[in-house]
């Protein structure tokens, strides 16, 4: 069931995945969801039995889980990956929501732009809002190219990973600034 929650949301839902992880701790661990259950060797059978015993024993003994998120160093690798996920979720949620809302509301898109213009907001707020809107698509797209390279197993060594990471972040900020100030 936890697996189904994860399946329906795909990559997008870090929050649901952590809840699903909690849920899966409450239920017995279903290790037999793998594809080749009918042809398991003796070694694999022993291994899966050991895994089940591990979860039973640790839950029974109520051992604490060692700290993870709050103590682990934020690395460029994990922070850029988190940014990719966050921008992905942000866009996956807001784009359909805004589109559906505009579809439902009266008047067309340009009347809402006029409405925002008439509010006479501080231009700094408008610029900041533009940055917030432009950054996700720029970063996610450029980091997406980095991910595509990884899918071909290109650029996996640590030095290239870091260099490409800095490059992607710098380029994304540059392109965002370009969109905000030049368009």
């Amino acid at each position: 069931m936890a697996a189904m929650i994860r399946a329906s949301f795909g990559k997008g839902s870090a929050l649901l995945t952590s809840n699903a992880a909690l849920l899966s701790r409450l239920q017995p661990v279903v290790v037999t969801q793998l594809s080749h259950t009918s042809t398991r060797s003796q070694t694999e059978d022993i291994a899966y039995k050991e895994m089940e015993e591990f979860w039973d024993k640790n839950r029974r003994l109520n051992r604490p889980l060692s700290p993870h998120l709050r103590i682990y160093n934020p690395e460029l690798t994990s922070m850029l990956s988190l940014c990719h996920r966050a921008t992905g979720i942000a866009m996956a949620v807001t784009v359909p929501f805004v589109a559906a809302t505009l579809l439902g509301l009266p008047g067309d898109f340009s009347s809402y732009i006029e409405y925002i213009k008439d509010l006479h907001l501080n231009p700094a707020i408008l610029t900041a809002a533009k940055y917030v809107l432009a950054f996700p698509i720029c970063y996610h797209y450029i980091n997406g190219i980095r991910h595509l390279a990884w899918d071909w197993a290109i650029g996996f060594d640590l030095k290239t990973t870091y260099q490409s990471g800095y490059f992607v972040m710098a380029l994304a900020l540059l392109v965002t600034a370009g969109f905000v100030h030049l368009l």
Binding site: A3, L34, H36, W55, H68, Y72, E75
Partner: protein, 266 residues
């Protein structure tokens, strides 16, 4: 005579003590109702070896014998002393103590693992996952019935493919640095085990490559890897599990899965 006395007395002039704080995660299963907490120890770096393991052993010897941690070779080859030092997973015997006396060094067990005591995590799940990938040579020509009769020949090119894979000491630093493994350690195999699975897939002497790949054909064993790359960053031996997983994914895309399924179910 006087010169020699001057020399020896100069050598024994006491150096000012360089006290370094270590904040260590403690939890005792024998104490009912005990909660995990941090305990701080002060160590004089002038009388301590350069590595964090030296400090831990000094603390255990001289200050607190109840401090519990795993250790063996003290040279970075056994993988026993893997723990989280200063926010990163590494081997305590290879991690130099940070000379900055103003900051305490924080020492935690490997992240998101069940704690047996203090810095000792339960590694049974990790070992069971390693066992599940069958990390040994499997032959189809029946030659394993007469093991030792003939050498299994391998070209230098094929042997070179194993470089960067066979050196893994299974310390679990990489797997426990992976957020994906934190959330899914029951079904996702983790970088260490996957790199070893790849090591056997790519060994020219092994005949079961397709079957090994077919074993990965589900949503969790390999595909929970989202290329976060914390694994490669943290490996204390300088290996690249992220690359190995990338290569597995490439192989999974290219191999003949129908044929493998038939072979596996034959």
């Amino acid at each position: 005579m006087q010169t020699r006395c001057a020399q020896t007395s100069a050598a024994t002039a006491p150096e000012p003590a360089r006290m370094k704080k270590f904040a260590v995660y403690r939890w005792d299963p024998e104490k009912p109702g005990d909660k995990p907490k941090m305990q701080t120890y002060e160590v004089d770096l002038n009388t301590c070896g350069p590595m964090v393991l030296d400090a831990l052993i000094k603390i255990k010897n001289e200050m607190d014998p109840t401090l519990t941690f795993r250790r063996s070779c003290r040279e970075g080859i056994c993988g026993s002393c893997s723990m989280n030092i200063g926010g990163s997973n590494t081997l305590a015997c290879l991690c130099k103590i940070d000379d900055n006396l103003g900051k305490a060094t924080k020492i935690y067990p490997l992240p998101h693992m069940y704690v047996i005591k203090d810095l000792v995590p339960d590694m049974s799940n990790f070992y069971a996952q390693y066992r599940s990938i069958e990390p040994y040579l499997k032959k189809k020509d029946g030659s394993d019935k007469n093991i030792g009769d003939k050498q299994y020949l391998q070209t230098t090119g094929d042997r070179a493919k194993l470089d960067g894979l066979y050196e893994c000491i299974l310390c679990a630093c990489c797997s426990t640095s992976c957020p994906s493994y934190w959330w899914n350690s029951d079904k996702y195999l983790g970088p260490a085990v996957l790199m070893q699975a790849y090591r056997w897939m790519v060994d020219s002497r092994d005949d079961y490559t397709s079957e090994r790949l077919f074993q990965m054909e589900d949503r969790f064993s390999v595909y929970r890897c989202h290329t976060i790359m914390n694994c490669t960053k943290t490996c204390p031996k300088g290996l690249n599990p992220g690359l190995a997983i990338g290569e597995i994914k490439k192989m999974l895309a290219k191999y003949n899965s129908k044929e493998a399924k038939q072979l596996a179910q034959a």
